[in-house]
Point group: C2
Chain length 447, copies 2
């Protein structure tokens, strides 16, 4: 059992509170019943994530939890989802050969409260090793035994606090609890000859998903008692709690996003969902009155292009504090507007603030420098010549995970031409924001 | 029951033969045993696709089979996968309100041998309606009763001929057959109190997927005999064949691509898989010796960017025949190379041939006009001025589903600069080919 780095970097993203927030899917009335007053934290919760799988079903050499999505390993997304304060310790079980890679991921993306345990040959053995690390009787262990332990897969990155809280509360009451989902396909039982024996009633069965939560003593006892056959071939922790501790797990309906990344198509789906998520917040940086009015026009057309996105036109304090706050609030897209003769001082300051930010950039940050000029008087190609510095700067910024592009908009007196150009500009911005392709950084585009 | 248009356009894509091709996963030795000699066609096979669902699980208003992937309805991809010659008739069951939309899809994308039936209120009722349309006793019906009928979902677009053939052969032998997959999650049975009753042994169960195939008389008999309860709440055709005709279906292991588009993330996955598929073939159009040598350099760097892609540098006969053949062979990406002082006559001819092609363009076609010049002597922005026609032409071509972009490459004497520019150019081309974003068409990019 190994511990994570002692000097941990600051956790990226605001720490989510243990109390259900307004608008959460979690019914506030159930919290007190389960023993946690709103505002209080459920006591002593830890988590175990088995991450020792080899990902053979994915058809690639890299284990799926280490496959990269937007250049970042999948497991880092899952760990980020666990930044809720009320989870004291997170034990990740990885194989010896991936231990160093895992340590680097924790360091690079600033994950907190992570400890590493050695993975076993099977999923159950890995979980058992994680539980052992949390048990009191371990010598030299800095972890303390929790009251409740959550078990989750490293390859289910879309877990939300709401469902974590619900399984923890249910486990406190019932001893065990697990997220379930309706079956997508009918389940059938084959006979020995490879023909159908019978089909199961879809309405009477559920798919068992993760997260699951247990009173620590229940699941630890179950693992200590269970047979080698269970450890080798079993797949279901809830079943172990039932079989060895007679604890009937409460089944909690979870959201569709809980699905497990298993096949190549799941990795694609994960990438698209992550891209969608980080394209929901856009900051339009404007400093002068003129810029503000273009900013508002852009906001309107952008709203249609990126449906439901929250688009905030704002003047930023370029000391860096504002930039930092936007990043903390999960905004990773900045559109800097410059109008007519104004220079690029403000956007340059913004870029410096971004570059100097001490936060680990969890996602590629898209920055589009929008320059508005009347194409009747200045040809876009003429203007481009004076914007060549964007290309050089983009090369530098790409190393910091910032994707910088330039965009010229026809700020025409002709209302129709202006609208057309704004519309096309918004489509281009939407494409850059949604795709986050490093290959397209540094380009000067024309709307 | 309504019939599709009488004057059907030519089927897009080459017709796949009924005999298993070399390298197919279908073991040749099993074909004769099942009654079809290699090269012969299994006799009288038809298909029924229920497409009356409302897609509530997707969380969008459009039924999922009509959701657009790369601007084209999902069901059109599924129908395209059915272009195998040996399937005589395909009956699609759609609701009355979607009948006209479905007819337009058939016309627009040139699907052949499709007939429409009215969908019922449930999946089983839709399938029954489709079967009725194929039964002999229908008055005025141009369809004939098949020996074997395949049932498939409209929202499983990645079905391959191999698995179709395997379920048909198995159905001829056993009366019924269906594709199955290993379970991804453990299946559990809840008790009445919402707690776990028991977990099923994952190794002893399978997920029932599509396609399924039946001797027509077996499944038609089953549907005629089955109860209203079955039609209302049942989900499994194999179970009906078992219950009412005592026919034990043969279970056939299918590939992971058979999965059903159910949730939003599945639609994202489908889009990525389709994009990946159509990015596998790239035609690099070169006409002169100089262009040929750049073409070969580009091919090398592109191979790394788009791993496994088949990249063919070739001079095209611009009469249109070659272009047509590339499209028929599922090549939807063209890189036209122009070197130094050569004009854009050849690419222009190519674009005309593409525009005049009579084939329905099933996917957006990406065309990148690559212009090589030495940036030491000519500034990219100078050259761009003379390439403004690309922007105007791109606007026109976009309406035909052709996405045209320009790309300048630094054809420097300095080997390192040349390599850097080629490398960046390849990354840009890969991004354009992979993403196929209409918003980025018409741009002049610089590598």
């Amino acid at each position: 059992m190994e511990l994570g780095p002692h000097s941990r970097p600051a956790e990226p993203g605001r720490c989510v509170s243990g109390s259900p927030s307004a608008g959460s899917a979690f019914p506030a009335s159930r919290v007190p019943a389960a023993g946690a007053e709103p505002g209080s934290r459920p006591a002593a919760v830890a988590a175990v994530l088995p991450a020792g799988g080899c990902g053979e079903r994915m058809g690639v050499r890299t284990p799926k939890q280490f496959c990269r999505v937007l250049e970042r390993p999948l497991i880092s997304y899952t760990l980020q989802a666990w930044r809720v304060c009320w989870i004291k310790d997170i034990v990740v079980a990885v194989t010896g050969e991936n231990m160093e890679a895992m340590r680097n991921i924790i360091q690079r993306y600033g994950h907190k409260r992570i400890s590493l345990a050695e993975a076993g040959a099977t999923r159950h053995r890995s979980i058992f090793n994680g539980l052992k690390a949390l048990a009191e009787d371990q010598p030299d262990c800095k972890l303390t035994k929790p009251e409740v332990v959550i078990i989750h897969d490293a390859v289910r990155p879309f877990v939300e606090e709401d469902i974590l809280l619900r399984v923890v509360m249910a486990a406190k009451e019932h001893g065990a609890a697990g997220a379930v989902r309706p079956l997508v396909s009918t389940v059938i039982s084959p006979a020995a000859d490879g023909c159908l024996d019978h089909a199961l009633d879809r309405a009477k069965h559920r798919a068992s998903e993760m997260p699951q939560a247990f009173l620590f003593d229940v699941i630890y006892e179950a693992y200590q008692q269970c047979s080698d056959y269970d450890l080798e071939f079993g797949t279901e922790c809830l079943q172990l709690a039932l079989k060895y501790c007679h604890t009937k797990a409460k089944l909690v309906e979870g959201p569709p996003e809980l699905w497990k990344v298993t096949y190549k198509q799941d990795l694609y789906a994960a990438e698209s969902l992550i891209k969608e998520k980080i394209s929901q917040e856009i900051c339009v940086v404007v400093n002068t009155k003129d810029e503000e009015s273009v900013g508002h026009l852009l906001k309107e057309v952008l709203k249609n292009e990126l449906n439901c996105a929250a688009i905030t036109p704002t003047a930023l304090d370029h000391s860096g504090g504002d930039v930092q706050n936007f990043l903390i609030d999960q905004c990773y897209s900045f559109i800097c507007v410059t109008v007519l003769s104004s220079d690029f001082q403000a956007p340059r300051k913004f870029l410096t603030a971004l570059e100097e930010s001490s936060l680990p950039l969890l996602y590629p940050v898209v920055v589009v420098l929008v320059h508005c000029l009347d194409f009747t008087f200045v040809l876009p190609t003429q203007k481009m010549e004076s914007l060549r510095w964007i290309r050089d700067l983009a090369k530098e910024l790409k190393k910091r995970n910032v994707l910088l592009s330039g965009l010229l908009i026809n700020y025409s007196q002709d209302e129709q031409k202006l609208q057309e150009s704004l519309q096309q500009g918004a489509s281009i911005i939407a494409a850059l924001v949604k795709e986050r392709r490093p290959a397209l950084a540094g380009q000067l585009l024309v709307a």
